[in-house]
């Protein structure tokens, strides 16, 4: 017998083979052992099913919630687009006019971030307009 395996290795080998033995049990063998116990097959199986079902439901609910949140954010962006601007060019013009009107009132980091709209995607521009709205620099009608 090899002496090179650690206790940990031996334990792992042993547990994995016990696991394989359980997986290899026939349905009749499983039923025989269940019948020796106090709880019937349906109850035992349904207990495990419930544990599984609960977790899957939680995961899917969380996924749905995240999808809803993403949709809401995208929807808000779309609303701004519908209300105020129809294109990236229009967005840039709107932002420029606000910066000209309000000048020093606008935080420097925002005007620096704008950089005439160069390199900004449509979504970036929409987010920028949202920021300006939050600052109260334009109302929801774009004025």
């Amino acid at each position: 017998m090899s002496n090179s395996k650690t206790a940990k290795d031996k334990l792992e080998f042993l547990l994995s083979t016990i696991e394989n033995d359980i997986l290899s049990m026939s349905d009749d063998e499983v039923l025989e052992e269940v019948n020796e116990g106090n709880i019937d097959l349906d109850t035992r199986a349904n207990n495990i099913r419930q544990i599984i079902s609960e977790e899957i439901t939680n995961i899917l609910k969380k996924r749905l919630y995240e999808a809803k949140e993403n949709y809401r954010e995208e929807s808000e962006k779309q609303q701004i687009k519908n209300r105020l601007v129809k294109s990236a060019d229009e967005a840039i013009e709107l932002i420029k006019s606000i910066i000209e009107t309000y000048g020093e009132s606008i935080p420097k980091d925002l005007t620096l971030a704008f950089r005439e709209g160069k390199g900004m995607s449509e979504n970036d521009l929409i987010s920028f307009i949202e920021d300006l709205e939050e600052l109260g620099l334009l109302d929801k009608n774009g004025e």
Binding site: K5, L11, D27, V30, L41, E55, I56
Partner: protein, 201 residues
């Protein structure tokens, strides 16, 4: 939802989609549920600081999040069993961390190859003496269950050394029938032992 692809034809590189995982779970029979419960109890014997619900739900969370990807050529039950084993050892390491012992990082286990059907640690020398002692105690605990039965003990020792059934039979002079009978006894007695300990909690 797309049906599960035929696992016998699956490329070892192919992994299941989330839908395929959920479908596999939904297809598990009542007896599969019992096997899953038995396997969970086996691993809870290692990770005593958890219960069946924790183990099974954490396994599903890891599988459905993609943290553990199910390779389609591996039967689902074998795969989820490997994930639960991995979690049980994570829990044991966590317990040891809380006791102030050094943590050993484990890699993923997808249960694909039975000869390597266990968690791989960085290297053997990274196990601390305290951890070795805990593993040794666990191993002794199992061996002591069969101290009264030479053949069953031989099977336990053979399994722990990673010997095949044939190798164990040759080494300990067992017939195939004797081996199978003893292996069944090992499984049953270990299962009864786990049930007794569960009832004593």
């Amino acid at each position: 939802m797309q049906g599960i692809r035929d696992v016998t034809e699956a490329n070892p590189q192919e992994h299941a989609t989330e839908g395929e995982v959920i479908e596999a779970v939904e297809k598990l029979s009542d007896t599969d549920m019992i096997r899953l419960e038995k396997i969970a109890r086996t691993h809870l014997w290692v990770a005593q600081d958890a219960d069946i619900k924790d183990l099974i739900q954490e396994a599903l969370k890891r599988i459905l999040s993609g943290k553990r990807k199910w390779p389609l050529h591996v039967p689902f039950m074998k795969f989820i069993s490997g994930v639960m084993r991995s979690i049980a050892f994570d829990i044991l390491k966590q317990m040891k961390t809380e006791q102030g012992l050094r943590v050993v990082q484990a890699t993923n286990c997808d249960g694909q190859d039975s000869s390597k059907d266990y968690m791989e640690y960085e290297d053997k020398s990274s196990t601390t003496p305290e951890e070795s002692l805990i593993f040794k105690q666990k191993l002794d605990e199992i061996e002591n269950m069969f101290i009264d039965d030479e053949k069953a003990l031989a099977v336990v020792m053979g399994k722990s050394e990673g010997f095949s059934p044939k190798e164990t039979q040759e080494m300990f002079d067992l017939t195939e029938t004797e081996y199978e009978s003893a292996a069944r006894k090992v499984r049953r007695r270990f299962s009864d032992y786990l049930n007794e300990n569960k009832n004593n909690e």
